[in-house]
Every structure is written in structure tokens, then in C-alpha cells.
Subunit: 250 residues, 2 copies
């Protein structure tokens, strides 16, 4: 199984602390990693088919404070598809003049959708097929980019059609909001005023968020497994879809 | 004006030497840079709206030997569109299950094509509009990915329709080949056995290619201005389209 990390904030925020927590788990998840940062409508997508433990690209992400309001990261342990750059999450496509970034943790069985639209997989994973199908169905449902509430409504109709094929924990963003779907394992929390100290579970690293934030800041973090040992992480119910805007669930 | 750099090779090759030569020119081209590497069908695209002189991302590219057979890089001096990540070249889209990477040097006047297909610009540059229009017209011309000769034929019909709107030096790749169109300023050369020493024009840096290659290696380099002072660069004629495969023009 892979591991997911998502971040949604009301002010551009770096994810060096959380990404360090994720990368620590890369020993078992050695088949690549990727991270996408939205900056307004633009995206920086770093992918590498080397482990996040060894990759110079991961080192850059851990030390260069890229500030973003929407981040999706993934470390991969291949279940379907060979270890290759084109199979490395997150995946990116453009729809309605907006970039969309998607990462998946899970395994879809017998999922061979009819992809007759403008979105075709480049690699050979079930995950990229699921993303292309989602983009195709969104494109059929709306003529141009709808508001977040409408998109959430459409996604809530589409998720069960993927979920019935197997494990489907996923993160999706178009830069306006971050959607998270829980299937077997996904957790979230919101950090907001009053901020306090937090310690990574798997690494001897602490951050005092009060010293690096303002009282107005708010950030939601979504991760496969809780990243810290001393914060209140909440589990997604199976089949639960949540949308995060400005650092909070809606 | 921006500056372009393209590389097409018959064996995965790094571009640290040539990219260093390009980045040296970033003082005047401070409005962002980007570089896309194909690795088989996968793409790594690094973009930054900071100058290639200062960006930690550019530093990574200069020091991490990413080996690729197709590379497209761009340093930007904004003529149309604000300085923002979504306006930073190269641009990337997916068509027929292949990624396409595009960068443009020039300025298209009154180019407002009808974009009725599946490719919409995210930013607000003439360049991204031109790329979306190219993708749309390619999608109309072929049902699935044709061979390089057929694609070249279609592109040769499309280029003049862009060129008549203004300066259109461009690089385009889908991982199989690299297409280059010259309008006002574009140069190319092929490095092959017997390899020799070359010195960057703008930086005190030399490479003896004989020491880092095998006799079978062949690499074509395309750049706005010749990058080295002691090699035979050839200029593109206005309106000339060339396709490079396995390190040589076809």
C-alpha cells in the first residue's frame, strides 16, 4: 500500500515538516514518490521513481520552503504497473482551463472503464485509469468549471462507482479545494489558533507551530496514517468524501 | 525575448552543461524558467517563476544528472502574461495517452484561436494558447498517435498558421521525437563521434565530450543562441521545421 499526504490551507504554507514525516516511511515505499504544489492556478509537480529516502528531488522538497495552499503527495509501493516515471503519482491533467492533481492509495480490481473522452492514461496503473475516468465524467457533467459545492456533489456520485472495484483512498485538487475520499485508511486534522507543539511519530522532530504561524492561519492535513503522535487525528469512514477549503472541511 | 534549449539524444544523456550555459543568460531573463525531461513516456517538469540564476530548483537541475533522450528548457522574459507559475514554460498536456511538452520564444499578435476542443489555457500567454490550438488541431487530424513522419507532416501544415501571427520559435516533444520550428532565431548542432572539447560562451566552463561519451552516442542540441564558442552551430531558416530523432535531424 502507498501513503498519501494532502494539505489545504487558508494561507500559503510549506509542508516540509509533514513531508519529512511521510518520507521517513519511504523504506517500505521505495517505488517512487511525487508531490504537487498549487500556486494559484499553476502547479509544480515533482515526481521521481526513486525512493523519497534517496531522491535528490525529495531532498529539495524537504529543504526548500515552497509555500502553497493545496499540496498532494504520494509515496508508492507498486501494486499494479511497473516502477516507472509514468506510473508515479500524483497525476496531472487539465480540464476547463484548470490543472487537476490526483493521487490514489489502494487497488482497483477489474476496473477497465470505457475511456472515450479526451483523457487517456499514459502509464499502466489502475490509479491513472481511475483519474482519467473521473476527469471524463466531470467533463460530461459540467460545461465549464462549476463552484466547489457543485463539484463536490458530482464527485459524491462518482466515488462509489470507483470504490466498488476495491480500495480507493484518494486526494484530488484543482487549486480551489482539496477533495479526499476514504476507503480503508485515511486520517485528517485541522491546525488552527491556538497552535501548539507537535512531534513526528517516526522521526525525532518537533515543531512549535505557534512560532511559525499567525492567529489567522488554518491548515488541514490529510494523511494515510497520523503523522504526529500528540495531535487528534480523525479517521475517515469507509466511503466518506470530504472537501477542504481554506484549511477546514466544508 | 526568451531563450529556448532542446536536446534530443539516442541514449539517455544529461543536460547539466548546456543548462548551465542557458541559466547564465538568466540575468536578462528573470521572469521564470522551466525544464521538462522525458524518461520513456514519463515526464519530469520543473518550473519556477524565479530566475534560473537564483532558483533552488535550477540548482538541482544543474547538479543532479537527470538522464533523458528528450529535454525542453526555457528561460522567460515576459512579453505577454504576468509573471506567475501558470505562465511559465514549458507547458504540458496529454494527448492519445502521451504527454506533450512545449516551449515558445516569440510574440504572437492578435492570436485568439477558437478553442472548442479539450485543451484550454490555464494561464494567459499567447504561447499556451498556441500550444492548446496545436494540440486541438493534432487531435482533429489523427485518431490515435501516428508515426513521427505523419506527425511531422501535420505539424508542417499547422506551423505557418501560427507563424503568420508573429515570431514563433518553438520546441515540442512527445517523448518519441523533438520538433523545432525556427522563426527569427534558433540554432542547432549534432554532437557525435569523434567527440571533442567544447567551451561555453558565457561561462568559464569546458567539457571534453570524448571523456563522457561512447562512440555510439549522438545528441542534437537546439538553442536560441549558440551555447558554445567553438562548435559549428547552424541557423534555422525563417519558417523551417525540423524533427530530431535519436540525436539527428530526420
Amino acid at each position: 500500500m502507498c501513503q498519501l499526504l494532502g494539505m489545504n490551507a487558508n494561507t500559503p504554507t510549506d509542508v516540509m515538516f509533514s513531508f519529512t514525516g511521510l518520507a521517513t516511511r519511504a523504506d517500505e515505499h521505495k517505488d517512487g514518490f511525487g508531490i504537487g504544489f498549487f500556486e494559484d492556478k499553476g502547479v509544480r509537480l515533482f515526481v521521481d521513481h526513486h525512493s523519497a529516502r534517496q531522491s535528490p528531488v525529495a531532498e529539495l522538497v524537504k529543504t526548500y520552503p515552497i509555500r502553497s495552499k493545496q499540496v498532494i503527495a504520494h509515496i508508492r509501493k507498486a501494486t499494479q504497473g511497473v516502477v516507472a516515471l509514468e506510473n508515479t503519482h500524483p497525476f496531472q491533467r487539465e480540464l476547463w482551463g484548470r490543472y487537476w492533481v490526483f493521487a490514489h492509495n489502494g487497488d482497483l480490481k477489474n476496473f477497465e472503464p470505457r475511456l472515450h473522452g479526451a483523457f487517456k492514461p499514459v502509464g499502466c496503473t489502475d490509479s491513472e485509469r481511475a483519474f482519467c475516468w473521473l476527469m471524463q465524467e466531470l467533463a460530461k457533467s459540467h460545461a465549464s468549471v462549476p463552484d466547489v459545492a457543485e463539484l463536490t456533489h458530482t464527485l459524491a456520485e462518482l466515488m462509489p462507482q470507483l470504490h466498488r472495484h476495491g480500495t480507493f483512498n484518494m486526494l484530488l485538487s484543482n487549486g480551489q479545494a482539496l477533495w479526499a475520499h476514504g476507503s480503508t485508511k485515511l486520517h485528517w486534522l485541522v491546525r488552527q489558533h491556538p497552535f501548539r507543539r507537535a512531534a513526528l511519530r517516526d522521526e525525532n522532530l518537533q515543531v512549535d507551530f505557534a512560532s511559525v504561524t499567525t492567529p489567522q492561519d488554518r491548515v488541514a492535513v490529510i494523511a494515510t496514517e497520523p503523522l504526529t503522535s500528540d495531535e487528534d487525528w480523525q479517521a475517515f469512514a469507509p466511503g466518506e468524501l470530504r472537501v477542504f477549503v481554506d484549511g477546514a472541511p466544508r
